[in-house]
Subunit: 353 residues, 2 copies
């Protein structure tokens, strides 16, 4: 710890105001306002002069005043949970970055809030909205009977979810067709000769979890493989549950030769545990992930995964929320995107024993 004193404390520079620009030009405030906002009823000549002066004075309009008048904050809120662990998963953080970038393209800023106490979650949505700090929300990881969705829908707050929900017909969402993806993942594994394929699943309260499990089952069926519910081990999208899940699967001596995980983090955890138990991947065990986070490529071995683009999701969501805030009907913005399998080296035919 260090501490010193200095006099280099710069003097805050006063911000130029609209009135000052108007004064300097000898015109009225409305003229400046409309010129800067490019209204059609201002002469080109005037616009030019105004812009010049604004520039010269380093004028940047106060969004506070503008917000108060216009009623818009030009900001979208994103709440993440389990704050103490940072932005939960790698995918979430990639998505967050992509979303921020995409929103910027629409002139919107992103307000990121870490929810500490789950009980205060709804309150926070309420506060942010009531305070007028945000014009709408993006929700991640939709849950089964997600109270956030009910709450926001009830008050007509614009929002789009990343992931469908029970009420999917009535709100805007974007989602990856994980059901289809998981089915394809299983078929892929089956084509490599695997006959006993397990799944380490996600939190049971997350909406997409059941979709992924359905996909798993559908894949098994279309590959002509039997479905054994005990081969679905519960998890929570963490690497830790991948470790646990794998151990459990191995201990139960179920004869599993391949595992499809709910996401990449879980897959990495599973692989790490496999190594620890002396199982080599993919020679003795194939492991496949989901999401296609960047780290997956660098893992040992590089992870085969069902990939989808965080950047595209971010872009799409940004456009959707812009539309919603602009008054579009929520149900007109619903998009299902495909995932695609990226084969790397964590999967392969099982070595003959």
């Amino acid at each position: 710890m260090q501490s010193r004193t200095t006099e280099t404390h710069a003097v805050p520079v006063k911000r130029a105001t609209l009135a000052e620009v108007a004064e300097a030009l000898g015109v009225g405030k409305p003229t400046v306002s409309r010129a800067l906002n490019d209204y059609p009823d201002i002469s080109e000549e005037t616009k030019r002069r105004v812009r010049e002066m604004a520039n010269k004075l380093g004028y940047v309009g106060s969004s506070r005043a503008r917000q108060l008048q216009k009623g818009a904050a030009d900001t979208i809120g994103l709440l993440v949970t389990a704050a103490s662990e940072g932005l939960q998963s790698a995918y979430q953080s990639e998505f967050t970055g992509a979303l921020a970038a995409a929103l910027d393209g629409h002139g919107l800023d992103l307000l990121l809030h870490a929810v500490q106490d789950p009980a205060a979650e709804i309150d926070t949505y309420n506060r942010l909205w009531q305070q007028g700090k945000v014009d709408g929300f993006v929700l991640m990881r939709t849950r089964i009977r997600d109270e956030r969705i009910n709450f926001l829908m009830e008050r007509g707050v614009p929002f789009v979810t990343q992931g469908r929900s029970d009420l999917a017909n009535h709100h805007s969402w974007i989602d990856i067709d994980s059901e289809e993806a998981f089915a394809q993942g299983i078929e892929f594994l089956a084509r490599q000769g695997h006959r006993c394929i397990a799944m380490i699943s996600g939190d049971s309260d997350i909406f997409s979890t059941s979709l992924r499990e359905h996909g798993y089952r559908a894949g098994l069926e279309s590959a002509g493989l039997p479905y054994d519910p005990t081969l679905i081990v519960p998890g929570d999208f963490s690497a830790a549950c991948g470790r646990l899940g794998l151990k459990q699967l191995v201990d139960s001596a179920s004869g599993v030769t391949a595992i499809l995980c709910a996401n990449d983090a879980t897959a990495m955890g599973a692989i790490s545990q496999a190594h620890e138990l002396g199982l080599s991947v993919p020679e003795q065990l194939s492991v496949m992930g989901y999401d296609g986070v960047r780290m997956a490529e660098m893992f040992s071995p590089p992870l085969t995964t069902l990939s989808h683009s965080a950047a595209e999701s971010g872009e799409r969501i940004a456009s959707m929320i812009v539309g919603l805030v602009g008054g579009d009907a929520p149900a007109n913005h619903q998009i299902l995107l495909p995932a695609q399998i990226i084969e790397r080296r964590s999967t392969g035919p099982t070595a003959k024993e």
Copy 2:
């Protein structure tokens, strides 16, 4: 892609205003305002009644109006670069989450902005500040001759950096003593018998990079090992550079048996490449990281790393920025935190050949 029409379009609920609460109570607006803000010159009885009514009407003050009047946004800005790749590293995203959580504890929100075009970076700081959307900034990854710092200091904008800078005496910062940490890392490796230890470094324009390199050198010295500058291979904190760096080191047949990487991502990349080249870690090669991201524990093998707490950094920075916005002198807020080595399984004595 799907699209439907529905009539479940809820009617936006009008927000209650201060005036309405005052009216309902038959008192003046200032009374309500002061009661809600817990001013001492309002009777307890009145406060109680006001709070009750505010609650009943679901009143939440408009932060827009408040901001305009008070001149504060109760929001701190954080700009991240290379947006398209999401929040750059795992550490950055952990830190961001921790910061958001900590700020919340002080009643501040976090505005996250993804900088797309590096040339527009300063403009964005300027805009956010001038617009009054934020009361201050947190800067990550300070650079050598960091123009952001000059810019913000010149106009007296409150900010704290995560990482020191050339101007460290004159602004607020928090930093990890990475120099010391790297020195200890080297000594640790030396104690395990390594005589030829390389380093895969970070971007040369990042301020802490040279600190880490100094630490590397200092560690070598105190371990009585020769310093060979060619054993420092340049990188950029990515996993990709870890792969490249490792390959280069191996190709050069320099006899390296251990590598200290600028961060965990680079270490993971290096290990992944090592496996690809058929080198086993740690039997044939030890690799150590820096940061102690959560993923490090799940890697194969689990990563030995110089760890520090993103949560603590977040907490500290939040307190610091609160102080600064409150008028504290920047130089009174400078904190150097230690890192500590966490031994896992990516390091060990080199196997005899």
